[in-house]
């Protein structure tokens, strides 16, 4: 049982990576939000498993916070935002998905190489996951760069935070509770502010395409 659970952390890590890859290859905004929810749920599950295995009970609380904030609150907020903005079925034109995925593979190789020496030092139960967390982080960053609309960008940002959280939980057995709470509320506040921004952008340009922001620069 114990062995199976510690293996399941690798499984969750792989699932996170798959979800991030799915996100960067997804055109519809609604699906991206769904994927983000799945990512949050995976995170919750992995946190609980790590908490159980290492006997650190504060991880249960942080899992609960994650569940409330990232699986329930933020997706609901995002759904409401896209409903109000009426971009629920928006399709975004992406640059060539295979190319993005190829870059993604390069990033994965890079991240794993980067994490290899650090992972050797770590004594945690899931050393291999650090590389995956790093890869997820870089991929989410890439998603933020490659998207043209504001909502997927915000999701990219959130998924970046998720991967950092996963790195903290899996590789170093969690941060102190107070830090985690702080981050959770930061993210929530960030989402609210970004939501307001999105409405503002929309009002100003009649579109959420952030390329319009280029007009704001002074010539």
């Amino acid at each position: 049982m114990h062995l199976l659970l510690s293996q399941s952390i690798n499984l969750f890590a792989a699932m996170l990576l798959i979800v991030v890859f799915a996100m960067i290859s997804q055109r519809r905004i609604l699906r991206v939000i769904h994927l983000f929810t799945v990512q949050g749920a995976t995170l919750v599950a992995s946190t609980i498993v790590v908490g159980y295995l290492t006997g650190q009970h504060h991880l249960y609380y942080s899992a609960a916070v994650t569940l409330i904030v990232k699986v329930i609150l933020i997706p609901v907020l995002l759904h409401r935002v896209i409903d109000r903005l009426n971009v629920r079925w928006d399709v975004e034109t992406l640059i060539n998905i295979p190319t993005t995925m190829l870059i993604g593979i390069v990033l994965v190789v890079f991240a794993f190489n980067l994490a290899l020496p650090i992972a050797k030092l770590s004594l945690s139960i899931a050393r291999g996951t650090l590389g995956i967390a790093l890869a997820c982080f870089l991929l989410s960053f890439m998603m933020m760069i490659s998207r043209a609309k504001a909502v997927p960008q915000v999701i990219g940002f959130l998924s970046m935070e998720n991967s950092l959280f996963f790195a903290a939980a899996a590789a170093t057995n969690g941060m102190p509770m107070i830090v985690e709470l702080g981050i959770a509320f930061d993210v929530l506040a960030g989402i609210l502010i970004l939501g307001v921004f999105m409405f503002q952008i929309r009002e100003q340009f009649d579109s959420l395409d952030i390329r319009h922001l280029e007009k704001l620069k002074e010539d």
Binding site: Q7, N10, A13, A14, L17, N96, I97, M101, V109, G128
Partner: protein, 310 residues
């Protein structure tokens, strides 16, 4: 030897049933009244009875191709462990050769379609080959992940190792499973890539390829298509759910393996019907993207295996 013969026989008999099962479930899910489960057998019987109308321009290649495709698919069903991992034919062809068998069948059906020299036939051949060259490496990579885990490319020993060891979670198999699903849909002309029930020529891929066939040739091809779907489903079942196969050549073990196989196939059929119901067919130019995703997922699976060692 018994297990081998039994396996091929079971494949030949069950493959049309699997087709009928999927069609029935698809109809149910779409609120239609379903055809009988035995409908594919009736269709095959009817087609065999009809005389074969062959185009005047057809060369011998055209008439040989259905038999060759059928032979290839029978071989594929023979080397995929469906009932037992103790197969005398297994040393003849390993995972790489299995991909080769599918490729051989594809090349011959494409050549046969080009043989007549009609506009739709050649278009179908081109599209089929386009799907093939992307799906084939993806399938190979999926199989590679499994062979890296088990240190063998022989399908029988891959499945034997996976089934007999203690239960271990392989994250790399998760990726390759996702890739495999995409490849399965594309290679078997299923919905997001191709529509097996389409009657619109311009969107056809596989149907355009076999447009000129009729009578017994068409029957053989339809049967081969069913066998291919059966083989693919069994590969998926064997790699990702390897339990319940007979390890030895004992008759009672084989008898026990048969219901397990039927249950796995039935579940897979329902899943396939569901995927086909909730998805819409893609534009043809989206297909390379779809398959490239499968290919890259399979490569990531390999990478994850190399990195996590699992």
């Amino acid at each position: 030897m018994i297990s081998q013969l039994l396996e091929i026989l079971v494949a030949l008999i069950l493959a049309p049933l699997l087709m009928g099962w999927i069609n029935a479930w698809r109809a149910w899910l779409q609120n239609k009244s379903a055809p009988s489960l035995l409908q594919p057998y009736r269709t095959l019987h009817k087609l065999f009875h009809k005389e074969s109308v062959v185009a005047e321009t057809a060369m011998p290649l055209f008439r040989i191709a259905p038999y060759l495709v059928f032979g290839c698919m029978a071989l594929a069903c023979g080397i995929v462990p469906t009932l037992s991992t103790d197969l005398p034919m297994a040393p003849a062809a390993d995972a790489i050769a299995l991909v080769g068998v599918f490729a051989l069948a594809r090349v011959f059906s494409a050549l046969a379609a080009m043989d007549i020299g009609t506009s739709f036939g050649t278009m179908g051949a081109r599209r089929e080959m386009m799907i093939g060259f992307l799906a084939e490496p993806a399938l190979l990579m999926v199989l590679f992940t499994a062979s890296l885990i088990t240190r063998s490319t022989s399908l029988a020993s891959i499945v034997h190792t996976l089934a007999s060891q203690k239960f271990v979670i392989y994250p790399s198999l998760l990726f390759s499973g996702a890739a495999f699903l995409l490849v399965l849909l594309a290679e078997n002309a299923r919905v997001p890539v191709d529509n097996p029930t389409t009657h619109l020529e311009l969107t056809m891929i596989h149907e355009a390829l076999i447009l000129e066939y009729s009578g017994r040739h068409l029957a053989l091809i339809e049967w081969a298509v069913a066998l291919k779907l059966f083989a693919y489903t069994c590969i998926g079942a064997a790699l990702f759910f390897p339990w319940g196969l007979a390890q030895a050549n004992a008759p009672e073990a084989l008898l026990l393996a048969l219901p397990v196989l039927v249950v796995k196939l039935a579940a897979a059929g329902v899943v396939l019907a569901m995927i086909e119901t909730v998805n819409a067919k893609m534009r043809i130019f989206r297909v390379p993207e779809f398959l490239a995703t499968a290919f890259l997922l399979a490569v990531i699976a390999l990478l994850v295996h190399v990195l996590l060692g699992a």
